[in-house]
Subunit: 333 residues, 2 copies
Amino acid sequence: MGEFDLIARYFTRPVRHAALGVGDDCALWQPAPGMQLAISSDMLVVGRHFFADVDPAALGHKALAVNLSDLAACGARPLAFTLALALPRIDPPWLQAFADGLFALADAHGCELIGGDTTAGALTICITVFGEVPAPAGQTRALLRSGAQAGDDLYVSGTLGDARLALEALQGQLTLPAALLAQARQRLERPTPRVALGLALGGIAHAAIDLSDGLLGDLGHVLTSSGVGATVWADTATELLSTPSDAAPHAPAERSGFTLAQRRSWVLGGGDDYELLFTAPPGARASVQAAALASQTPVTCIGQIDAQPGLRLLDANGQALTQHFASFDHFAA
Amino acid sequence: MGEFDLIARYFTRPVRHAALGVGDDCALWQPAPGMQLAISSDMLVVGRHFFADVDPAALGHKALAVNLSDLAACGARPLAFTLALALPRIDPPWLQAFADGLFALADAHGCELIGGDTTAGALTICITVFGEVPAPAGQTRALLRSGAQAGDDLYVSGTLGDARLALEALQGQLTLPAALLAQARQRLERPTPRVALGLALGGIAHAAIDLSDGLLGDLGHVLTSSGVGATVWADTATELLSTPSDAAPHAPAERSGFTLAQRRSWVLGGGDDYELLFTAPPGARASVQAAALASQTPVTCIGQIDAQPGLRLLDANGQALTQHFASFDHFAA
């Protein structure tokens, strides 16, 4: 099987909304009147973003999920994506599983593959995703990083730190009970992009970002862009560690003998959470809860935006925390 | 320097046309009324598409050029692009030269960088480019692969085969005089996307494709998409080898002792030419020449489209050629 057979077999499907999909020099897209396109690209590299032996269906899911998460953070509705793929070899069962994982998530969001590229090389996935946001009279309704205002409540969706916990376990830095590892690994390998929440927060949230590099690092981007500071109730956030489930409804990490300092580092430094962090004025609390309910996504208030620049972390007793929490930098040593 | 400093220093510039550029979760783009977006992605991998020691300015140029070439083949006007970049390390002089080469070409086409991603990894570049084509009443004016009609003239722009010649010389498969190598290498490393010609051919050409994998292979895509065949005057095409210049106005390869079979293989099998192949009805010959003149791009008629399927190659005496010319497949052995 060659390059063109590969594209035809695994990555060509009839388009539903595009004017032209896979198979010409370009895809063609006719934007809807009054809408603005939201565009984001993410590249995933073997050995850096995932292990070489990762489940290919999970990888297909995650490669698109991290891009949909960027649309969610702008409050954009997913439309379409392109896929560029470097593969060390053509492995039909691997490709079928990768395509299955990718298209299952794409179909769940009505987001269609419209073009791309394949080549030989170390396993690398680059997806560019397209969404739409209303822009009446050219005024965007997108949620931006730059809109946070002093006095806003600071929220995060879902749970935090589980992906980092799984990563450290898979790297052999700590040992987890099998059930807890499986649960945390699901969060690392199959993150849920918070698209419905992002859409529901349109007109409510002042600012939003998705948590890919770690809570404090990504919050820092919002503070810098908005020219504000924040106070974070660090231990309220730390309580968000570990996905509750029927089998383990309350933070199982706590029962696994990890210290508070460890749990804080996973949640606050973390990375790969793909939850939304957003700010909204106190007057919008009922609207925020309604948006959470409508999108079936839990949200938790973990602090507030301050006029004073800088980031203040408080523990459960209201005392300042001075521990350093490194966020994720792809070029850090 | 970390990931965010890198983006800020080398890849963040004020946007001119985008509603929002680099620095948020998504870029925002407001399409013009009545226009359709043309979208294409290409990924370039070290060791596969370029040598590790390639001039970084040339690499920045080429990474965007191959994407602009896809827009040219659709007759689309370049608007914007995203850049995802995996780098083995942060090397400031290398990054500055790469950015200089990239932005010089981008600025020449009014095409702005609106977003992307950087990560650590083997040197890999993935660009997604956006252009616009008129679509009055939803009817696209894009040039497609599927529009070729029996009786059409078959044209190519510029020169062919020089990039393949340079590649074989750089791989040590043959030896070239220094002046000829420099000239051919320029075609390999700094291809000229035929954007002006693609725009000028709107409403004139029936079908178009850009030549990235080799003349015969790419022509095959047009024939399959259009459900037609073609007759190619192979030696008229072969005359297009080597960029004429003031120093060497006529095909210097001929004077370097290469055989006709070698020259045919570079031109017909080739690859990396980034010229346009297009078809147009015989009644449009004057319009094609006017488009070539207006875009300052030479075009040559090298055959015709037939109702009979299949590809017929004729030599200078009108005799059928049976030599096999392999086009480029990234997964071929």
